[in-house]
Amino acid sequence: MIPLNLQSRLINKIQPALFSLLLLFSLPAWSELTIEINEGYENALPIAIVPFGYEEQLKTGEENSSAKGKVVKAPVDLAAIISADLRRSGHFRPISADSMPAYPTDIEGIDFIDWRVLDIDNMLIGKVVDEGNGLYQIDMRFMDVLRKNQVMGKRWVHIPKDKLRQIAHQISDLIYEELTGIRGAFNTQIAYVTLRKVSGKRLYTLEIADSDGFNPQPILKSRMPIMSPSWSPDGSKLAYVSFESGRSNVVVQSLDGKYRKVIANFKGINGAPAWSPDGKKMALTLSKAGSADIYIMDLQTKKLRRLTRNWSIETEATWAANGQSLFFNSDRRGQPQVFQVFLDTGEIRRVTFEGKYNGNPEISPDGRYLAVVHGQGGFHIGLQDLYTNEFTVLTDTFLDESPTFSPNGEMILYAMNKNGKGVLAVVAIDGKASQTLKVKNGEVREPAWGPYLNK
């Protein structure tokens, strides 16, 4: 642990080189985020995700006979992961394995009538084959029970055990897209900050996890606050605000840990990083000129362009989907409202008018929706349709903040306060499905949903 008096000595003179050594405490094992599904759609589609079969590749001689009669299970229950993904979307109701008439692993084993009477239109079957050397082959077939044919079939080979969950999420994505016409976002990651008390002291951790909360991995731990993680468009880096120097700085770090750099440590606050869609620029909030204003930094040249010049607070910039304008929060009219600034002309226009407080704007990937923290007798996530200007309040939980869109734009992940503790929640953009994610022994806040991992 780093003595606190050292930190205080560092306050005035920031030495970026130190960052790479700082703040890596060893800690007890990480508890996973647990998900609670609160709501789903009334007429969610029933679907059968049949437990995957498991086969050990035929080996010669003794080995083969010794394996006989042994009940062996796949190292990861892919069907359970896929079922949970689909259920979480709110659109599907996977039937329980207990209620299935059979557990076919190939097409010949399917008696379609048995599934038709269960009101099943589609079923997934598959198997995991142990290739040896810790590698696996995964086969899946997605079947149309109505027409009694195969919709799609895929095989993955040479997959290490620790990537099996990811394959399951990929399968979920394929099914979701087949049945909704919208790309699935299960095989994605989220970043968030946890706050725990370790021997009475606050410990902030920046973590990334799979979209279902599994596989949490800390990438930064600090006694000092960590804020506002923002994904690079290619998903390889995170920008965030760290107080490790004693005051707010903006840091860029690659997920593989090879790269870590303080990109903004100006006088005053350095906050609200937001990557441009092309990944070349970063919007920032700096108060080096006296009050918080929006700047754009060219990440190559580190040159700054100042976009706002008000004495009011201008912060929380986010890029329009086309990268040609930014939305930001300004209290120039007395209370926070969202404004838009166009990069070519510098023109600024007000965007939100509903209610007293609209902060932390986020734009959906297709550019159509604007999510905000909407304050009107409480703080909730509001959604403004930029095409129609229709405004809806999506959530009714307590102290909701930090909305972030899933890469397919279907869900919004946000932070809320439940029983005095910070937890994450997910809500569908039509407000109809929701769930919460929490950590066992701490709080979780400031979520950021990462981009698609492939393609």
Binding site: M1, I2, P3, L6, Q15, A17, L18, S20, L21, L22, L23, L24, F25, S26, Y41, N43, A44, L45, S89, H91, F92, I107, D121, D139, R141, L146, R147, K148, N149, Q150, M152, G153, K154, R155, W156, V157, H158, I159, P160, K163, I167, L179, T180, G181, I182, Q217, I219, S254, L255, D256, G257, K258, D430
Partner: protein, 340 residues
């Protein structure tokens, strides 16, 4: 910084170790090889093609024409008798004869009129009955829709058969009644003719030319009456045909909308679909109501690919499609507008 490292060698060491550990964790990359499994889809079932049966035309009855015919032959006999009478008996006064003939003609016309009215009333009644049956049939169809297709079809056929039987019976009864009436009238006329014969015997023979002229005039009158009657009969038959065609059309509409309704009932999707999305669904089915193929046509702008996919699924989910109320109405290709 060096001071710090010297002062806290353990923490620095731990930090370095962890950093390396994280580096290792993140540097492990993997590549995935996906391979698309190809599978032949199961062969389509051969479907039966059944010839659509011709709809039999309804039988019509020309009750009054035959009556007129009988009348004519009877009149001929009258003339002959009268000729004989002329030879045998002295001529009676013209006045008397004319009065009698006039009376007879009036009676006959009145009878024809009454017959026509009765027939019209009958027709109306039958129309009302059919209307009632039609609505009942529609109601029953809706009810049966929920039951198994086989039972449904059988029931529909049985009911239709019963309806047809009942109709036949009514017709037969009517025919019998009409024939009885004809018989009665013929006999009555024979009686009257005999009476007249007797009266004629008492009458004086008058000029033959006059009688012949009179006969000719009467004949012309009768011909005109017969023509009118024929025309009226033809019109009635035509009306009945149109009625039946109309009825069948309505039944067909009910049949197709029962299919459309079942497809709509089976519409469900997890996708976000515009409420304005609309397409024509062209379904090819086998006589059992099993789907041979579905085509999605003439879609509007709101109908996305996903909508088309899901509309097709709704059709398969609705299998077997409802059977027609009458066998003749079955159509292999059904097209309707689909807007869930």
């Amino acid at each position: 910084m060096i001071k710090f490292i010297v002062k806290h060698p353990i923490s620095v060491f731990l930090a370095v170790v962890l950093h390396i550990a994280i580096l290792v964790v993140f540097s492990v990359k993997w590549t995935e090889d996906t391979e698309v499994l190809k599978l032949s889809t199961q062969g389509e079932k051969k479907h039966e093609i059944k010839q659509i049966k011709q709809i039999e035309p309804m039988k019509t009855f020309t009750v009054d024409a035959s009556q007129v015919q009988a009348q004519l032959s009877k009149l001929k006999a009258d003339q002959e008798a009268r000729k004989l009478e002329q030879q045998r008996l002295a001529a009676k006064t013209d006045k008397e004869r004319q009065r009698l003939k006039e009376l007879q003609r009036k009676q006959k016309l009145e009878k024809a009129k009454a017959d026509k009215a009765a027939k019209k009333a009958e027709e109306q009644k039958r129309k009302a009955e059919k209307e009632r049956k039609k609505t009942e049939e529609a109601k029953r169809l809706a009810l049966l829709e929920k039951k198994k297709a086989e039972a449904e079809r059988k029931k529909a056929e049985k009911a239709k058969q019963a309806a047809l039987d009942a109709e036949k019976k009514t017709k037969q009864a009517k025919q019998k009644a009409a024939e009885a009436e004809k018989q009665r009238l013929a006999e009555e006329k024979k009686k009257k003719a005999l009476e007249k014969e007797l009266q004629d015997k008492a009458k004086e023979k008058k000029a033959l030319e006059k009688a012949a002229a009179e006969a000719k005039r009467k004949k012309e009158q009768q011909d005109a009456a017969a023509a009118l009657q024929r025309q009226l009969d033809e019109e009635a038959a035509e009306q009945r045909e149109a009625q039946k065609r109309k009825q069948l059309l309505t039944l067909r509409e009910t049949y197709i909308s029962s299919i459309a309704a079942k497809v709509k009932d089976n519409w469900r999707t997890p996708a976000r679909i515009s409420p304005d999305a609309q397409c024509d669904l062209k379904i090819t089915q086998s006589p059992g109501g099993n789907i041979t193929s579905v085509k999605v046509l003439n879609c509007n702008k709101e109908a996305t690919e996903q909508f088309k996919k899901d509309a097709e699924k709704a059709v398969y989910r609705a299998e077997p499609l409802p059977a027609p109320p009458v066998k003749e109405l079955f159509e292999r290709d059904i097209t309707f507008k689909f807007k869930p």
